[in-house]
């Protein structure tokens, strides 16, 4: 799983028939410092994420398969909308 920022949407009238009715978002994968890395990615969404949202994306294709059927050619699905990302306590903080 990884975090991504949603930067846009996409429409496609010609597509694999199993993707009919699916909402597509365009986003970019986020690094720890908030910068983006890699090429823009297309995610399948049914959580209503909007532009500017930070989302949790899973690349486990079984989610898409359970949702849209066995033969669906899809992998990246929005599985959560991020509220906040905070610091993880270091070892010494946990001891006290």
């Amino acid at each position: 799983m990884f975090l991504a920022r949603i930067d846009g949407t996409l429409t496609a009238s010609r597509k694999d028939h199993r993707l009919a009715g699916v909402r597509f978002l365009i986003g970019q994968r986020l690094q720890t410092d908030g910068s983006t890395i890699g090429e823009p990615l297309v995610f399948l969404d049914r959580m209503g994420a909007g532009r500017g949202s930070t989302v949790l994306v899973s690349s486990d294709g079984t989610i898409a398969r359970d949702w849209l059927g066995k033969g669906v050619p899809a992998r990246l699905v929005v599985v959560g909308i991020v509220d906040r990302v905070g610091p993880q306590p270091a070892v010494e903080d946990r001891a006290s």
């Binding site: 996409l10 694999d16 970019q28 910068s35 066995k70």
Partner: protein
């Protein structure tokens, strides 16, 4: 899925039996800077994508990668990239700072 521009097609003289009849596209993935600029350019490493939708040269597609790319084929197929859709239209407006760092990253 990544986005890519169709640059051509690939025809094999010999292939594994499981690949026979599979249409293959030559596709150039699109970088963030080029997607934002809407300049028809790709910029990524060219790859070969299995296809059943027949997009024209210059059209933008979304391609699934990994084992899920073979999902549409009933029998096991050695395909790891598949054209899932042809893009009609898109919006892509990264915040300005990210836009700048993405552009710099590609140079």
């Amino acid at each position: 899925m990544r986005l890519g521009i169709v640059r051509g097609r690939v025809v094999l003289s010999r292939s594994l039996p499981s690949l026979r009849g599979t249409s293959l596209l030559l596709v150039e993935p699109v970088s963030a800077a080029n997607l934002a600029a809407r300049n028809g350019r790709g910029g990524g490493k060219t790859l070969v994508v299995a296809d059943q939708l027949s997009p024209a040269a210059g059209q933008m597609i979304a391609l699934v990668e990994g084992s899920e790319a073979a999902n549409p084929y009933p029998a096991p197929t050695p395909v790891d990239a598949y054209c899932a859709l042809i893009v009609n239209d898109y919006t892509f407006q990264p915040p300005e700072a990210a836009d700048r760092s993405a552009a710099e990253g590609r140079r």
